[in-house]
Amino acid sequence: MSQLHYALFTGCTAKQSTPELLSSTLAVADKLGIKITILEEASCCGASHLQDFDQFLAHVLNARNICYAEKLGLTMITICNTCQLNSAMTKHALDSDPELKARVNEKLAEVGLEYKGTSEIKHFLYTLIDDYGLDNIKNKVTVPLSHLNIAPFYGCHNIRPSELHGSSNGNENPYNPRSLDDLIDALEGHPIDYDRKNKCCGFHVELQANHTSEVLAGNALLDAIDNNADIMVTPCPLCHLKMDTYQDSISSTMGRDVELPVLHMPQMVALALGCSEKEIGLNYHVTKADIVR
């Protein structure tokens, strides 16, 4: 296999509140011999909220990010479901609407850039599975996760809308997703089955509709707990923030104790590949995750 090389769009949380996501991603890539070039020029994807305010501006800024991956001639990979969705939505909109693409490019020309549509956009989870391969990952496991019942939590923006993601997420069935389950299997963990694994965590209305947000996160966490999960794992740092940080308030909303460590997908892989404690960065978790050791 020739060396895999990707342009990494880190997103904002990996640069701020979830540094463990970035360090574990880079550690996994290093262990697997995947070359990563970080797109230091890339700005925020808008997280769907900038899109609510000004859709055109959001397209311009996302197209600019993609331009930098195109310049390198690389696939752009994401480590956040929401970055993935919003970048892919801009790509889809521009690739299917020449008039919009021309309007966006008129703006990008002011800063000497042009969006061409030559780079694919893919979440790191799917590059690990489709490009690197589960069997190859399995061969690299040094610390099998056989002591853990792991609840895969997929996060909305990697799996819906399926029509948009089909080509980059291996046609994942949003009603019965398999990728994270398969990855857990490859790391010799025990994936647990539960209804809410493909549901919403409520992160996006945390401020304006707090009750909705807490109930959604609570339903998912309790469903995982009731199905004997030791930990939850997610490919999305926004799901992670909601699920890891707010368990106290979720407990009072739900009227039940909610305590479940939540790992980022790359942290779980890093654990199984024997990466260092510093790289995995469990110290950054609000809900302590010592059980994984």
């Binding site: 701020q16 230091e40 700005s43 996006h204 209305v205 110290n283 609000v286």
Partner: protein
């Protein structure tokens, strides 16, 4: 030529009669399914070959009346449009039939859809205009104007998006994606005069578009490719374009992204909460903030005025320039 193929499957169907049953239960039916059969055919066969009391709604069989929606293994489908073999390919040889909403079940697949119709009617899903009863000529619309509303107009009110929406389940006030798609469809109609009224209605916290959790369940559930969440985004944009948006935690949260991105390229996670909530609103987040501080997720300098603790992207000046030249809306 069409080749007939057969597969043996098991169907587990939700059974419940609100008048006589204390709890719902599942009943299992074995059948051999041909590759041309629709989910609606399987519903018919349960009733005709197994149990005449099995109940479901159906009418047109042509994907237009919107009556026969159910959930198959959790996936909302219009039964007369969905090929049974496609579902077997997706879920294997055990199909589970559920009503759109279990908590609204009346009899088997039949639900009380009253909440859906009330909310749909509330957004005035019709053109409201002073129309000359004896017009000289038809009202002309440009192709662009038609394109702008066409996919929203495909809605058949089947309710799939409404009952797939997690917010509808939690918040009884919330209009839901179908009502929003209708609100957009008629507000964007050039003949209509109730646009601002609908925008104001759908801008209200609790019932309006700001409570949308962005899960995309509605887009996934729609059998007519209405893409309700895209219409929700358009309603958000229209609120700003038509100056209906009032400054509140949600609108500031959307607009506040510009301020962060202009200054750093990245979203400033502390500033966006502060800017959206205001200093007085921050008390709600104190407990969480302390926990995040302890874990090293945030730092004491974050959000403190005049201390810039934020990482910056490379070539930030490009972003500043693009925001200046491309931003069209204001709060």
């Amino acid at each position: 030529m069409f080749t007939h193929k057969y597969r043996k499957i098991t169907i587990k169907a939700f059974r419940f009669n609100a008048e006589t049953d204390y709890l719902p239960y599942y009943k299992t039916y074995e059948m051999t399914v041909e590759n041309h059969e629709l989910i609606l055919d399987l519903l018919n066969r349960i009733k005709w070959e197994h149990d005449g009391s099995f109940s479901y709604r159906r009418s047109c069989r042509h994907g237009i009346c919107g009556s026969c929606s159910i959930k198959v293994n959790g996936k909302p489908v219009l039964a007369c449009k969905e090929n049974a073999w496609d579902m077997i390919d997706l879920f294997g040889d055990e199909l589970i039939f559920d009503p759109q909403s279990k908590k609204r079940a009346v009899k088997d697949m039949i639900i009380d859809k009253g909440d859906f119709w009330d909310k749909h009617a509330a957004v005035k899903p019709y053109v409201e205009a002073e129309i000359d009863p004896h017009p000289e000529h038809e009202t002309k619309m440009s192709i662009a104007q038609v394109d702008n509303i066409l996919d929203a107009d495909y809605c058949i009110q089947c309710g799939n998006c409404h009952y797939a929406c997690p917010v509808v389940e939690i918040n009884e006030e919330y209009f839901g994606p179908a009502a929003f798609a209708a609100a957009y469809r008629f507000s964007a109609d050039p003949r209509d005069e109730a646009g601002v009224e609908r925008l104001e209605m759908t801008a209200q916290m609790g019932q309006g578009v700001w409570d949308c959790v962005k899960c995309n369940e509605c887009a996934e559930a729609c059998p007519k490719e209405v893409n309700p969440i895209e219409k929700i985004t358009r309603l958000h944009n229209l609120q700003f374009e038509q100056k209906v948006a009032k400054s509140n935690v949600a609108t500031r949260h959307a607009e506040g992204f510009v301020r962060s991105i202009r200054d750093h390229g990245y979203l400033d996670e502390a500033d966006i909460v502060l800017y959206s909530e205001g200093y007085l609103g921050m008390y709600k987040h104190l407990k969480t903030a302390i926990k995040m501080l302890k874990a090293g997720k945030i730092h004491w300098q974050d959000g403190v005025p005049f201390i810039d603790n934020m990482p910056k992207i490379k070539n930030l000046d490009e972003v500043k320039k693009l925001i200046k030249s491309s931003m069209t809306n204001k709060l």
